[in-house]
């Protein structure tokens, strides 16, 4: 099958002096769970926004399933942004309905199952929920779609360790060979075991693209330890 994601010379500058991303070249195959790792301000979120057509590249190209980001790619990319865009006055069940209307590949059944597993009241309005519970709801929405590419920007930052385990097993459960899952996070140790591959981004450039076991075999250390070394302050 064709790669799910290709980037050629991808560059984004917010002003003439400074490139948030600089000449990034990358191909990702399907059937992988990929960690997008880098310190604050390294360009992770810029990259993710470019994939989702929230930002336009200054230079270079992106292909998702062979297409430039736009309406068609949004049908097959399920995106969890770092900040919510949902109407906080809506009830959880109404948001489910909203997503179900919006996306062909959304499974109500999967969403309600996960809400039930995490004991989230579907009659509650979003604004009455705690920060962590809101995050869980958003992740459930994103993972309830049958997408080709899942892009998760910091999905586990605000949730407790038990829910974190549940989320990781949800991601594993959802794994299939035709889809890829791209996860940006700082909680490397928590997700290291479920990743195939990690990408290190440093000052807008890709400095490492390797599998977790390649890193462990060649360096004799965990991805977490390598990260601390590469990005030592």
């Amino acid at each position: 099958m064709n790669p799910i994601l290709e980037c050629y010379g991808l560059t984004k500058s917010y002003n003439k002096m400074y490139n948030a991303l600089h000449n990034l070249n990358l191909t990702l195959d399907r059937g992988q769970i990929i960690g997008l790792l880098g310190p604050n301000g390294s360009g992770k979120t810029t990259f993710i926004k470019l994939l989702n057509d929230v930002l336009i590249p200054t230079q270079g190209e992106i292909r998702i399933n062979g297409m430039t980001p736009g309406v068609e790619t949004k049908k097959i990319v399920s995106y969890l942004p770092e900040r919510t865009y949902l109407d906080e006055t809506m009830k959880v069940k109404d948001i489910i309905q909203y997503f179900s209307d919006f996306y062909d590949n959304f499974s109500d059944e999967r969403a309600y199952q996960m809400l039930d597993d995490l004991q989230i009241d579907t009659n509650a309005r979003l604004k009455t929920l705690s920060k962590g519970t809101k995050e869980k709801v958003q992740l459930i929405l994103v993972m309830s779609r049958d997408a080709d590419l899942y892009v998760l920007d910091e999905p586990i930052g605000g949730v407790d360790p038990a829910a974190r385990d549940y989320i990781l097993s949800t991601i594993l459960n959802n794994y299939n060979e035709k889809a890829a899952i791209l996860i940006s996070t700082h909680l490397i140790q928590d997700i290291e075991n479920i990743l195939d591959r990690v990408l290190f981004i440093k000052q807008g450039q890709l400095v490492l693209n390797a599998t977790v076991d390649e890193i462990r075999t060649e360096q004799g250390k965990s991805v977490d330890a390598l990260f601390r070394e590469v990005f030592r302050c």
Binding site: G31, Q32, I33, D165, L168, S169, L172, N173, Y175, Q189, E192, N193, I194, L195, D196, V212, D213, R216, T217, G220, K221, S222, D224, A225
Partner: protein, 122 residues
């Protein structure tokens, strides 16, 4: 419960070790069917491709074999299982001997101490 894996060694090797141990200790019996890759990956909380790699390596070593319709089965070759058991025991003993050496014990002292402990254990 996710499997207890350590941080610096390749994950697939640790998975292989864990499954080998489960076979030797009788969690899986000769001829038993192993759970699917997906089930095992969820159980261990590891990436399915990593689990797949570990199982392929185990298959290559002969300790498990695949049958077209019924997944992966544990070998019924007793001599192979015994061989694996001895191998694992030797590994543990090597680690033990290295540590004792670091503590400054001679071979004779190690033997004497071990015999003493074995007597007490009985």
């Amino acid at each position: 419960m996710p499997w207890d894996l350590d941080n610096n060694r390749p994950i697939y090797i640790q998975i292989m070790e864990r499954i080998q141990l489960d076979i030797i200790s009788g969690v899986y019996k000769p001829g038993d069917r192993l759970p699917s890759v997906r089930e095992l990956a969820l159980q261990a909380a590891v990436n399915p491709n990593t689990m797949q790699k570990a199982l392929s390596e185990l298959e290559r070593s002969g300790i498990v074999y695949s049958k077209r319709t019924s997944g992966r089965l544990i070998t019924e070759d007793e001599s192979m299982l015994n061989h694996l058991k001895t191998e694992l025991a030797e590994e543990h003993i090597h680690v033990f001997l290295e540590k004792m050496d670091k503590l400054g014990f001679s071979k004779e002292e190690i033997l004497a101490l071990t015999q003493e402990q074995l007597k007490e254990a009985k």
